[in-house]
Amino acid sequence: MSAFEPIWIARDFPKCSGCRLCEVACSLHHEGRIWPEASRVRVFMRVPGAEFPHLCAQCHDYPCVASCPVGALSVDKKTSAVLVDREACTSCGACIEACPGRIPFLHPGDKKATICDLCDGDPQCAMICVEGGWNALRTVKREESHSYKLYARKPDEITKDLVTIIYGEHGEELAR
C-alpha cells in the first residue's frame, strides 16, 4: 500500500458563502446527479448569512460506529473516514442519535445511513471551495493530537455561535 497521509476536511464557518457548490460537487461525485439532500455535506441556514457546511468530523472515538447494532459502520484504515455497508444497514437511525452533531442522515433514496467518505482521500467539496477561494472547507493532514470531535455539533449549536461573529450583539436574538 502506498504511503497515504490521513486527511481531514478543515472547516472555517465564517468563510462559508452559502453557495452550496460543495453540495453540487459532492452529489455529482457520489450520486452522478445534483441532489442537495443526498450530499454528504449539507449547508445549513438557520439564520440567513450564517450558513455553514455540516459534515462528518471523524471523531477519534467514532461514537456512530460503536452505536450501530448490526456493525454496518466501519473506519477506513486509509482515510479514517466512516464507511457504511449499505447492505447491512437497517435504517434504524442509531448512528444519527449517537453522533454529537446529528450529522449522518438516511439517504432520501435508499433510506440507508449516509456519511462523508472523504471521497477516498480526495474530497470534492474542499477542492471546489478552495478553488473558488472561499476556503471554508480545505483538505489538510489529519493530526491525531487534535480533537476533531469538537466539530461534531448540532446545527442549532453552531448557529448560536456563528451569529455572534456575524451579527454581533444582535446575533443571539436572531438565532432563537
Partner: protein
C-alpha cells in the same frame, strides 16, 4: 421529457383546491419555463379578458416558475409573474435563493396560484405535495420573524412526519412583508431577509391573495438530464469562467454606488435631478471596511457570490442589516435621496426589507415625494413633517406611512406614477413630469442621458417590462444584455450575472441541449422563441387596464426628466434626444416585427403561431 420535474401544482386559494397540471412537450419546448411559460399560461387563461383583469383581484394568477436549467446553470433563481399591478402587463420578476431548487427537488416545476384566501395562509411544498396552512400568526410580521417562525414550524412538521431520519434543513421561504399585506404596489416577494423580486409588484399580488409565504423542501434529486456527463462538464466550465471575474466577486454591484455616478454620470441623484456625484464617502471601500461582515455571499450553485452582508455595528443605526447593499439599493435608498454614507444607506435598506418594499420602487417614490417637497408642491401640512434631501429620519417616517397606508403614505403606496396622477389632481398640476417611471414602474438606477451606461435610448421605452433595468430593449437584438437574451435567462431560469461573459453565453446552448435533449440554437431562440414571448408580453402591456391604458408611442417614451440636460459633472449638458429615440424606436419595432406604433404585426403573430393574440389585439386596438 428531460430536465423537468414534469408537473406543476395549481392552487385555488378561494376554494382551497390543489391539483396537478402537466404541460406537454410542445409547450415547454416553445416556452421553456419561468418568464416564457408564464407569458403562455397567463395569456391562455386571462388574455381574452386581459384589460378587465384587476391585478389585485382574486382573478389574477400568480405564477412561481423555475425552468429546465434551474439548479444546472450555476446560480439558481425563481421567476415570479402574473398581471403586474405596476405595468398592467406581464413582468417576469426573478429572485435568487434555494427555493427553485427545493421546488424542483420536491417534484414541481412551478406553482400556479389563483383566487384569494379568506384568512392569511402560507403554502408548504414538500415531495409531491402542496398544503395550504394558516398564516395568521405571522401576518404583520417582517422578514426576520416571518423567516424564524415559519422555518421552525416547518422543521417541526418535517420531523414529526419522518422522525429520526435526519437533522432537517430549513425549507427555502418566499414571503411578503407588512407593506405587501397592505397591498402597496411598490413591494417585493422576498427571501433570505435581503433578496427581493421587486419588479412587477408581485408582493402586492401575494398580499391581495392573503398569501403570506410559500415554503419549499424537496428531498429528491434535480430532474434527470438528457446527458448528465455533458451537463457536468459544462457546469464546471461555467463555474471556472465565473471564478475569473475578480471585481464582480469582490465587490458585486456594491462598487457602483460611487462608480456609476462618478464615472458614468447615470445614477439617480435627488430624484434624477442629477446623475453625477463625487461623494467619496459612498465609495465601495467605505462599505467594505465599515459594514461588510461577510464579503462573499451567494445562493445555490453560485460561483460568483457577488452578494455581501452588511451590518452596522456602531452608532445611531446600530443593528441595521442588509446585503451589499447592491447597486440599485445604494442608488435608490442612497444617492436618489441625497444620502451618501454607508451606514445611513444600510439603515434605510434594512427598514425597506423589514417592511417588505422593493428598494428600487420605494426609493423612486420617496425621491419623487422629496422633490415635490423641494418644489413646495407637497408641504409640511401634507406630510406632517419636513422632508429634506439626506434626511434619513424623514424618509424613514414616510416609508412607514406608506407601509401602514397612513396620510399621504396611502397615496404614495400606489407607486410614483399613480401617486403623480392623484396628487397632481389634488394640486391641479401635471406632476408626471417629476415621475421617473416607464409604464407605471420606477426606472432602474441606470440613466441614458450621459450615453455611457449600458442602457440605450430605447431600452426602457421599448422594454416589455417597463422600467426594468434587467430587461432592457437593445438595438442589437442578440447583444448579451438585450431583452431577447434576458428572456432566455429568465425562462431558463438562472442568474444572468453569471452569464455576462460571451464565453459563458456560448455554453448555454449546449447546456440546454444536454439538460433537455432539445437542439435549441441561438437562431431558434432569437428568430422564433424569444420574439414569441416578447410579442405576448407586449400585447398584454398594450391591453393594460383596468386603471390605466398605455397609449402606443405616447407612452413608449423616456421620462420627461431625461430630456433635461445633466446639470453637473464631466458630461454636463448632455440630455436625451427625442429624434434619436424616435428613429431608434422605429427601427427597433421593425426589427422585432411590430408596426410603427409598436403593435405586433398580424404577419409576425401568425408566423409565431399567435393567432389568438392577433385576433385580440385587432379587436381591441383596431387596425392601424
Amino acid at each position: 421529457m428531460r430536465g423537468y420535474a414534469g408537473k406543476f401544482a395549481e392552487v385555488d386559494l378561494s376554494t382551497g383546491e390543489v391539483k396537478e397540471t402537466v404541460f406537454g412537450e410542445e409547450i415547454l419546448r416553445q416556452y421553456l419555463g419561468g418568464r416564457g411559460l408564464a407569458a403562455k399560461v397567463l395569456w391562455d387563461r386571462l388574455g381574452g379578458v386581459w384589460e378587465k383583469v384587476d391585478p389585485l383581484g382574486p382573478e389574477n394568477i400568480l405564477t412561481i416558475f423555475a425552468g429546465p436549467l434551474t439548479g444546472y446553470y450555476p446560480g439558481s433563481k425563481m421567476c415570479i409573474s402574473g398581471k403586474s399591478p405596476l405595468t398592467l402587463g406581464i413582468v417576469g420578476s426573478t429572485i435568487a435563493g434555494e427555493h427553485a431548487v427545493e421546488m424542483r427537488c420536491a417534484g414541481f416545476d412551478g406553482l400556479i396560484i389563483k383566487g384569494r384566501a379568506e384568512k392569511p395562509v402560507y403554502l408548504l411544498v414538500t415531495d409531491g405535495r402542496v398544503e395550504i396552512r394558516d398564516a395568521s400568526h405571522v401576518w404583520g410580521k417582517g422578514r426576520v420573524e416571518t423567516y424564524r417562525i415559519l422555518m421552525r414550524e416547518a422543521l417541526g412538521l418535517l420531523e414529526e412526519r419522518s422522525p429520526g431520519s435526519r437533522e432537517w434543513r430549513e425549507p427555502s421561504i418566499l414571503h411578503i412583508g407588512p407593506a405587501s399585506e397592505k397591498i402597496s404596489r411598490v413591494t417585493a416577494v422576498q427571501t433570505k431577509w435581503t433578496h427581493g423580486a421587486g419588479y412587477g409588484g408581485y408582493g402586492a399580488v401575494m398580499g391581495s391573495k392573503n398569501l403570506k409565504a410559500v415554503l419549499f423542501k424537496g428531498l429528491g434529486p434535480l430532474p434527470e438530464a438528457w446527458d448528465m456527463e455533458r451537463v457536468r462538464e459544462i457546469i464546471w466550465r461555467i463555474v471556472r469562467i465565473c471564478f475569473k471575474s475578480d471585481s464582480m466577486r469582490r465587490w458585486g454591484t456594491g462598487a457602483a454606488g460611487y462608480d456609476v455616478g462618478n464615472r458614468l454620470s447615470s445614477e439617480p441623484v435627488r430624484n434624477w435631478q442629477d446623475e453625477w456625484h463625487d461623494e467619496r464617502s459612498f465609495g465601495v471601500d467605505r462599505f467594505e471596511e465599515r459594514v461588510w461582515v461577510k464579503r462573499y455571499w451567494g445562493d445555490f450553485g453560485c460561483p460568483t457570490t457577488c452578494m455581501k452582508l452588511s451590518v452596522v455595528r456602531v452608532g445611531p443605526y446600530k443593528g441595521a442589516m442588509s446585503d451589499d447593499p447592491d447597486y440599485e439599493n445604494q442608488a435608490y435608498l442612497g444617492t436618489n435621496l441625497g444620502i451618501f454614507t454607508p451606514e445611513e444607506n444600510v439603515y434605510l435598506c434594512s427598514l425597506m426589507e423589514e417592511l417588505g418594499f422593493c428598494g428600487i420602487q420605494v426609493g423612486n417614490t420617496l425621491g419623487f415625494a422629496a422633490e415635490l417637497y423641494q418644489r413646495g408642491i407637497l408641504t409640511k401640512e401634507d406630510l406632517g413633517f419636513e422632508l429634506r434631501w439626506g434626511d434619513v429620519e424623514g424618509f424613514e417616517r414616510l416609508m412607514r406611512m406608506m407601509a401602514e397606508r397612513k396620510g399621504i403614505g396611502d397615496i404614495l403606496a400606489e407607486g410614483t406614477y399613480r401617486a403623480a396622477l392623484k396628487i397632481g389632481e389634488m394640486k391641479g398640476l401635471d406632476l408626471t413630469r417629476y415621475a421617473v417611471t416607464e409604464k407605471g414602474m420606477g426606472i432602474g438606477a441606470h440613466g441614458v442621458r450621459s450615453r455611457l451606461d449600458y442602457v440605450e435610448a430605447v431600452s426602457y421605452p421599448c422594454s416589455v417590462q417597463g422600467g426594468d433595468h434587467t430587461s432592457p430593449a437593445m438595438r442589437d437584438l442578440r447583444k448579451g444584455d438585450s431583452e431577447l437574451t434576458v428572456i432566455l435567462h429568465d425562462s431558463g431560469v438562472y442568474c444572468w450575472f453569471n452569464i455576462m461573459e460571451d464565453e459563458a453565453l456560448d455554453l448555454v446552448w449546449p447546456l440546454i441541449q444536454a439538460v433537455t435533449g432539445w437542439p435549441i440554437t441561438a437562431d431558434t431562440w432569437y428568430n422564433e422563441m424569444a420574439p414569441r414571448i416578447l410579442a405576448i408580453q407586449r400585447a398584454t402591456l398594450l391591453l393594460g387596464g383596468p386603471d390605466i391604458t398605455w397609449k402606443p408611442i405616447r407612452d413608449d417614451d423616456l421620462p420627461a426628466r431625461w430630456y433635461e440636460p445633466l446639470p453637473s459633472g464631466p458630461y454636463k449638458g448632455r440630455s436625451s434626444d427625442r429624434r434619436e429615440l424616435e428613429e431608434d424606436r422605429r427601427r427597433y419595432f421593425e426589427d422585432v416585427g411590430w408596426d410603427e406604433r409598436g403593435i405586433p404585426k398580424s404577419s409576425t403573430l401568425k408566423k409565431l403561431g399567435l393567432e389568438d393574440v392577433d385576433k385580440k389585439l385587432r379587436s381591441y386596438l383596431g387596425s392601424p
